[in-house]
């Protein structure tokens, strides 16, 4: 998932020896990855940026507890995942009545097999994206985070469990529940065969 350079360990040692500026290199190196995962979990750019800042801030404060046998990248990634999870856990509920779904007969007509890049198709793909986002937001914070880590970040169950601070079996069950719920919510998008 995250690779670790020897440079990261050297930077951590330098910071703990009083070279605060060395942290800047770590921030620059890992910011994009953290922004990506934070955005995927929160689904919101502003929140994702806040999560990145807080993760690095918290990481710096806890740097003395960072154990050099692990990777700084993985460590800070987990802090960001926790931060993002925390944020969506206390976020406002989404009004799902706005989501067009199986209850809307017009949406049952939606077809996604058309490959022509017409304006209508582009509009439709935008709608599909919005529906997917709403469907993701209908999951619990843990389910959503577990699903994002599994499906989009390609994390193994053990990595998801470690990032969420739960048992591997609980992480696996969270992914199962998420997939089942998403399939139900996105049934309207299914191509009629």
């Amino acid at each position: 998932m995250i690779r670790m350079g020897k440079n990261d360990h050297a930077a951590v040692r330098a910071i703990l020896a009083g070279d605060k500026e060395a942290y800047g290199a770590l921030v620059a190196r890992h910011s994009h990855i953290l922004l990506r995962v934070a955005f995927r979990i929160t689904g919101n750019e502003a929140d994702a940026e806040d999560v990145v800042q807080e993760a690095f801030l918290r990481g710096y404060q806890k740097l003395e507890s960072f154990e050099a046998r692990s990777s700084f990248g993985t460590w800070i990634y987990r802090i960001a995942v926790r931060g993002a999870l925390d944020r969506i856990s206390r976020g406002p509920a989404v009004d799902f009545s706005r989501v067009a779904g199986a209850t809307d007969p017009e949406q049952d007509e939606v077809q996604v097999a058309d490959t022509a890049a017409s304006p209508e198709r582009l509009l439709l793909s935008g709608e599909i994206g919005a529906m997917q986002e709403f469907a993701l937001q209908s999951l619990t914070a843990t389910e959503r985070t577990a699903f994002v880590l599994r499906h989009m970040e390609d994390c193994a169950t053990e990595e998801i469990a470690a990032a969420l601070g739960i048992a591997p079996n609980a992480a696996k069950q969270a992914v199962f529940r998420a997939v089942k719920k998403l399939r139900i919510r996105l049934a309207a998008l299914r191509v009629k065969r």
Binding site: I15, L16, A17, G18, K20, Y23, G24, V27, A28, H30, S31, H32, L35, R36, F39, R40, G43, E45, A48, D50, V52, Q53, E54, F56, L57, R58, Y60, Q61, K62, E64, S65, E67, R69, S70, S71, T74, W75, R78, R82, R90, V112, I128, G129, Q132, R150, H151, M152, T157, A162, A163, G165, V175, F176, V179, K180, L182, L186, L189, R190, V191
Partner: protein, 259 residues
């Protein structure tokens, strides 16, 4: 023949399934069809378009947090390398050890004497953290959490919605008293960063709580602008992160270090 259940299909999709299930999938047309439907559904779920950031993004993040980070004190190990200092430190450690053993022996002896004399052994109370200090930390933590929530709501508030604005004003009023206490404590404890942030928060709370004739669109915009220009929300979050967690997090420790 026992068909694969939904969970086994999910495991197969993420390539974490068992070999037995994989073999079954190859042999059973019904399960293969179910799996194809699964695959089609899951393949269609993609991440929203990621926000584009240039190469300087990391640098910007660094600049935004750098002022809040203290410098770690260098670990002073070099003096230990000097032979004389090392000898001295060993001698000091031995002296402390001997003194501790002597005191412990004296205390034990004293207790033994009291017990043989028919007295109950004295119960030595464990020194606890000063309750006043613990209380201050809890109150401050709670206050900053509520303040953060208020600021987030203010950030996203819509002046047209009375049901959104009225609770904001009420919450600001109820936070004012706690803010005053926390601010006085911060000044007493000589914590200028906290005192200044709470003073700014106080100003905003007063404005929010005492808007004449309710909170109109102009006043709300002005407050939001004031809050954003000083990064008050970020500052409150930083202060919150300084407070040690109240809950034990032993079960939540990630592998490789403590968060």
């Amino acid at each position: 023949m026992k068909h694969l259940n939904e969970e086994e299909l999910i495991e197969q999709y993420y390539k974490q399934g068992k070999t037995r299930a994989k073999r079954h999938l190859e042999a059973c047309a019904e399960c293969a069809e179910d799996f194809a439907a699964f695959k089609s559904d899951l393949d269609a779920i993609r991440s929203a378009e990621l926000p584009a950031r240039d190469a300087a993004y990391g640098e910007r993040v660094w600049r935004s947090i750098a002022p809040f980070l203290p410098v770690y004190e260098a670990r002073r190990r070099s003096w230990l390398r000097g032979g004389a200092w090392r000898g001295l430190s060993y001698a000091s450690a031995c002296a402390v050890l001997v003194a501790s053993a002597f005191i412990a022996g004296r205390v034990w002896e004293h207790q033994q004497l009291r017990t043989t004399a028919g007295n109950k052994p004295a119960v030595v109370a464990q020194p606890a953290a000063p309750p006043q200090q613990r209380l201050v930390v809890v109150v401050l933590s709670d206050h900053l959490e509520r303040s953060e929530r208020l600021l987030v709501e203010l950030k996203h508030a819509d002046a047209g919605s009375e049901e959104m604005v009225t609770p904001l004003r009420d919450e600001a009023r109820s936070l004012l008293a706690a803010n005053r206490v926390c601010r006085q404590n911060a000044e007493k404890d000589d914590d200028p960063a906290l005192a200044v942030a709470l003073a700014r928060l106080n100003h905003l709370l007063v404005e929010l709580a005492n808007q004449q004739g309710g909170l109109n669109a102009a006043a709300l915009t002005r407050l939001q602008k004031e809050m954003n220009s000083g990064s008050l929300l970020f500052e409150v979050r930083v202060l919150r992160s300084r407070i040690p967690d109240q809950k034990p997090a032993a079960n939540n420790r990630p592998i490789g270090g403590t968060i």
